[in-house]
Symmetry: C2
Subunit: 373 residues, 2 copies
């Protein structure tokens, strides 16, 4: 989720700071004890002390592992992806910014090593993912409070588990929360090769929705098209193809889409709006083009188009952890049924993080970078 | 409602054409009999045969009055305003365009002269307004079908009756249909001196909502400010004042607005979005600046702002005539209670229509042009 500007950054930062202070207070330690230790330790973490270019500000350091208290869980991290939102957070372009220094990463899967005396819902050996962003997953081990963890089944792939709590959740909520779609209805999206985009294709297919998937043109476009169609995409079009008048003919067998999902913005989102059915909704969840969303007045008034935004962190604030767990279970069911695969991943050992960071921002890299610990 | 472009024009035109053909069929006449008569007649009408500059395409002509059939009502028009939407419709920049030639005007009040044998709800002497746009009100007399007319009380002013069915209805629906506002909540709007703007101020005041009213700067700004405050405006600011950082201090006693009403678009709407509360809605109903609506990606994602449009014609398509009559009655109650006055009006005799058309598009003319027959 690359965004231009950050109107609510200060407020979100204040909220997160208050949360972290409370977490530290309850663990009986101060913020300063969170800084990197100079002593040798088995805990290694990717830490940034200031916002900026990830390649420059991220460093691999040793951290002390805090003592395990009653409701704490000691987790050995197994795998954690590099998501666009992680990069934006390090750059300082995100609606939620942690107090610095901070451990990078907001998503990942770990295995429980030990639990505190009052932990009842988890046991050593369990696989867990994180319920909230901002806790820092790019590290070998950590102590988290029980309520920040969600157990996931161990019979799904490590890559599926590591990439479950952000992109597929975003895709699912956007597909079901904005328009009351019925089987046979159609969804159009751009950035269709993104982590969210691939999840949208698969979840839409499971819900028997048709998808029109827009991607940037590239040398290996046929390979990408084949891969997305293999996931369940009905149509794959380049941005340029979407602008051609004859595309209307290509899409004539589909009902006009009632939902558009936009992670690009700028001209690409203007084009999505042009294809939406009257009364339809465009949900923006990213701004890769670093341009705003623009809608003509007549599209708003006479075509009654609705422009909305989606941010999973906000959804989680507005819903209980049980509702989030329910969502995770729903997605695990889809994985079990073979209807939701992890995106194409490249596993990179934690110490080679520079390679993963570089690949995560290089254009047309179709695989998600996964740090393995 | 000045708009750039007209995406749904063709479709709307087709719908209206079908409607007119059906009307003509039921009245037993053909479209050609609708053209201006060369014979002297007592019915005078402002007619346009092609889209373009109203000053050039509108002509005062004689029309035949059709015979009164069973469910028809013969109406002597009393007064009809010149609204921005009427001008856009003549220019061809509107979501609903009549088959040409057409009589101008979409709103007005008339008095029933005679009724057909099967008319039960109206009698000679009643005041009536039109339930639908596109029927042509800039004429001395007309025969309308009973179901296109709504009786209004005769104890309201002629100007109130003539300007009741478009702007106050738009204002009311926008205030109640998009956000669940409570007394004490705040609304921000631009173009606050427009017909809709003045109705918003008064209806909001009746609903005990606070209003921040943005207007263009002008030589007599204090006079305008005083007039809008007299209507119930809490704050009146120029576009320039709204951009100043100190304005936040001026507005500090108000809760941040949860609803923004936009008839300008372009930069002005960007500024409204900046002042909206998180989760708030901006409703666009016009584009006087002839620029699109632009929203930064972070306002959509992190501030969860919602961008919608409103068009009364669409609302009427989605609701029954009884619901529209209910709305008219609600507004008549407000008029009776002294809470809703007609906008400042300049009455212009029908034959001086060029003066009214010219004044209706001249900048900073604060009074609504009303044609009197």
């Amino acid at each position: 989720m690359s965004v231009s500007g950050g109107m609510t950054g200060a407020r979100a930062r204040a909220i997160l700071h208050a949360y972290l202070v409370e977490t530290w207070r309850r663990r009986g330690r101060t913020a300063s004890s969170y800084s990197a230790s100079t002593e040798p330790s088995k805990v290694r973490a990717l830490i940034y002390g200031s916002h900026g270019d990830p390649a420059k500000v991220i460093q691999l350091k040793n951290l002390e592992l805090t003592a395990l208290e009653g409701s704490d869980v000691h987790v050995k991290m197994l795998a954690a992806p590099v998501n666009p939102a992680d990069i934006n957070m390090i750059q300082g372009n995100y609606g939620l910014l942690p107090k610095l220094p901070a451990v990078g990463g907001n998503e990942g899967v770990g295995q429980v090593v030990a639990v505190g005396s009052s932990v009842s819902g988890l046991k050593p050996g369990d696989w867990v993912i994180l319920a909230n962003a901002g806790l820092g997953t790019w590290r070998t081990e950590a102590v988290f409070r029980e309520e920040t963890l969600i157990r996931v089944p161990k019979d799904i792939s490590l890559q599926s588990a590591a990439t479950l709590s952000v992109n597929p959740c975003t895709a699912y909520r956007m597909l079901v929360d904005f328009e009351q779609l019925q089987p046979g209805d159609c969804v159009i999206q751009n950035g269709s090769n993104s982590g969210v985009g691939q999840a949208v294709i698969q979840i839409a297919s499971a819900l028997r929705l048709k998808t029109i998937n827009v991607v940037r043109d590239r040398p290996d476009i046929q390979k990408l098209t084949d891969r997305l169609k293999d996931l369940g995409a009905d149509y794959v079009l380049t941005e340029e193809q979407l602008r051609l008048p004859e595309t209307k003919t290509i899409l004539k067998d589909l009902p006009p889409p009632r939902l558009a999902l936009n992670c690009v913005s700028g001209k690409s989102s203007t084009e999505l709006l042009r294809h939406l059915a009257p009364g339809g909704t465009m949900v923006t969840y990213g701004g890769m083009a670093k341009q705003p969303v623009t809608a003509s007045v007549s599209l708003l008034i006479f075509k009654d188009l609705k422009l909305r935004g989606f941010w999973l962190s906000q959804w989680k604030k507005n819903h209980s952890t049980d509702e989030f767990k329910e969502l995770i279970l729903t997605l695990c069911d889809l994985i079990h049924q073979g209807q939701l695969r992890a995106p194409t991943c490249s596993e990179v050992p934690l110490q080679d993080y520079q390679r993963a960071l570089e690949a995560s921002i290089r254009p047309f890299v179709s695989s998600k970078q996964i740090l393995t610990m």
